[in-house]
């Protein structure tokens, strides 16, 4: 199929042909039993599946036969988060989904079809953050119920509020350091390596944020075990995939070259269903998702709403050398695990004063050959029961201050998408939860310039947002400061 993926906003208002065909195909695929590998439910369950949850939500009907390959070691529950496979796995997933839907569209209408993307960060489109009208309409043009709004979203949802960011696109390296704690695309996982489930910058925002904003605490998009059922999921991930493609197409960005990533993972297998659901599915290696690979697809545009201009050098941050030549070291941490329930919690981090001072001093280096640093706040082994809780992180808030009144101290807002699954003791993360890094270089520089920074210690305030309460608390195993160090290069 040579069809190019297009911005859904450019396809016409309301029931344009692409979205109408999508709805018609979805309606048919959703009629198929979950035992059919091309059924809507089977496709969603590849991302996440829990027999009990799906039964409780009446997604499984009496008599439904859940196929073994959803609950055993093959198709079900494959989705990759907090991992350097996040982007390639979802790319292959999109490819398989698109192929199956396109085949159904062809069968029903004779039309070619490609998955459109939801370009919610297109600054040139004032309606960009509004969900396409076809996903909100009560009925199809023929008066039948609209399958594109069949599965629940956040109550009253029609538009993504502010809070999305393209800051991830400023990162120059797919991953840095030995474990990828700092990365565009996620930390090293699999291959007999077990780190903290480091979430990549693109995954954190906009990916995680959109899941929470669309799904809330009751919509399916907010839970990885259900998200794939919502048809908007696929347009969202198509845009995330496009952002990755735009990032890779931009000079100055360094894609991972580690053979473990290219050929991996070594300790498990990714597999996607064929059109028709034949027994032999499509095996996926990360290399297959790169340009020229069997899972790679083209986009109509890689500029609008991406924050980069492919082909043009677009390095916002100073280049710090090859990822292998950079170092990432912890230089400070708090003393105990932190529990966050219904109220903000403050914790103090002790820092290696000399190292911190040196880091602050070299943050602004731009001259070639000079040492340069960036500072990151790391929240390690975050655990909780909620599927996509929101946590705001502040640094050096004044005593007694209302955090919301001091946005100048905000280090970042974290949507902890998938925390429920990553925290299960018998889940694939071994109950280690997820980990996150926030770039605090600019904030620390501002605080230092204002005389509000002590290189021996910083105070971190964690402010609970939606889905965090006393009944649904989260824990943060360790909060640390990481210093990323390199040498300025052209």
């Amino acid at each position: 199929m040579s069809v190019v993926r297009q911005d859904v906003a450019t396809l016409g208002a309301g029931w344009n042909k692409v979205l109408l065909n999508y709805a018609l195909a979805m309606r048919e695929l959703d009629k198929l039993p979950i035992s059919n590998r091309n059924s809507w439910k089977f496709l969603a369950a590849i991302h996440g599946f829990d027999t009990q949850l799906w039964s409780d939500l009446k997604l499984l009907q009496t008599g439904d036969q859940v196929p073994d390959d959803l609950i055993s070691d093959t198709y079900g529950n494959q989705c990759q988060h907090g991992s350097w496979y996040f982007l390639p796995w979802h790319r292959a997933y999109l490819f398989a989904f698109e192929s199956i839907v396109a085949a159904k569209v062809k069968e029903l209408t004779g039309d070619e079809w490609a998955l459109p993307y939801w370009n919610y960060l297109d600054a040139g489109n004032p309606q960009a953050r509004r969900v396409p009208e076809a996903f909100l309409a009560e009925t199809l043009p023929d008066g039948d119920p609209n399958p594109l709004r069949k599965y629940p979203r956040r109550a009253g949802f029609s538009e993504i509020p502010s809070g999305l960011s393209l800051a991830a696109m400023e990162e120059n390296d797919f991953l840095v350091g030995k474990d990828g704690a700092i990365s565009f695309g996620g930390g090293i996982s699999g291959d007999f390596v077990q780190f903290g489930g480091w979430t990549g910058a693109l995954e954190l925002n906009p990916h995680n944020a959109v899941h929470r904003m669309v799904g809330g605490d009751s919509g399916f998009m907010g839970d990885p075990l259900l998200a794939g059922l919502d048809p908007i999921f696929w347009l969202h991930h198509c845009n995330i995939d496009r952002l990755w493609e735009a990032w890779m197409s931009t000079p100055g960005k360094t894609m991972v070259r580690d053979p473990r990533w290219l050929e991996g993972p070594a300790d498990r297998r990714f597999i996607m269903p064929n059109v028709g659901g034949a027994d032999l599915g499509l095996n996926v290696a990360a290399r297959d998702t790169l340009r020229g690979g069997k899972f790679h697809r083209r986009y109509d545009d890689l500029t609008r709403g991406t924050g980069v201009a492919p082909g043009a050098e677009a390095v916002v941050r100073v280049k710090m050398g090859s990822p292998e030549s950079q170092s990432v070291e912890p230089i400070g941490a708090n003393e105990e695990q932190v529990r966050v329930g219904g109220a903000p919690v403050r914790t103090q981090l002790t820092l290696e004063s000399a190292s911190m001072s040196a880091g602050v001093a070299s943050m602004g280096a731009t001259e070639t050959g000079k040492e340069v640093s960036r500072l990151y706040l790391a929240l390690e082994s975050v655990r909780g029961k909620a599927p996509s809780p929101l946590l705001d992180v502040y640094i050096n808030l004044p005593d007694g201050a209302d955090p919301h009144g001091h946005p100048e101290h905000l280090a970042g807002s974290l949507t902890l998408f998938g925390l429920n699954v990553a925290s299960r003791p018998d889940g694939a993360h071994g109950g280690n939860g997820l980990s996150y890094t926030l770039d605090i270089s600019d904030l620390v520089q501002r605080l230092a310039n204002a005389g509000n920074f002590n290189p021996s210690q910083i105070r971190v305030t964690l402010v609970p947002g939606e889905q965090i309460s006393e009944e649904s608390a989260i824990t943060v195993g360790r909060i640390s400061v990481l210093k990323r160090h390199g040498v300025v290069v052209n």
């Binding site: 007999f192 297998r269 694939a428 071994g430």
Partner: protein, 261 residues
Amino acid sequence: MWPGSVLLRSFTKPPWPLLLAVAALGLLLSYISKGHAVLPDFCGAVVGMLPYSRWPDALDAAFALNSSLRVLTDWALMIVAMMPPLLAMPLMHIWRSSLSRNRLGVSAAFVATYWGVWMAMGGILTAFSLTLRIALGEGALAGATMLALLWSATPLHRAALNRGHRVRRISLFGWRAHRDGLTFGVLHGLWCVASCWAWMVVPLVAGVWHIPLMVLAGVVMLTERLSLPGPPRWRWPLVVSIVTRPAFSLLAAGGSGRNHG
């Protein structure tokens, strides 16, 4: 690219080469010290099955014939030969979580208590293997192997392996960093004992096959250790999968084959 080459390439990254070298050294020392002969001989004095009522006498006689120091030394070498590769993940976690000046110290604290847990188990497992020899005679090896396979198939085994994937917070500064290393070593050691004890018994009852079966059991335990976590349920033992499934899916077979987040 053949998936096995990807698999093998992962073992070229630190700390695998060092850990494999330590294990090889332990194996060599076990061989040189003839520890491979003492423990089997320990049991070999008892030929054939004995009635239940005579087991205590037989155990007393066997312990009387062998110095406890020698038994402990041999057990210690066995741990050195078989366990280091299993420690790659926790040691990597400690290394990346610590200040550079603390890395060796915290790692040593972890290894010390981990090793201590296994040493404490030495007497129990040795007595158990001896009892197995007394009870089953020449059938002890087959019995121990069946027991290990059965244990590997249980939900409890999977649950213990899952807990062994759990990493703990490592403090960055001062005594707390070393305390956390010590605590992590104890807890990781306990879960390691829970998941590996049955396979450790196999070489203890293996007679002249002691050294080869140390290697085999070590490989099985490493494969189980590296398999991804998954829901505890009855499943085919991983070693059965090794024989019956393609190399690429071996490790996934032990866990759920999932990495869901």
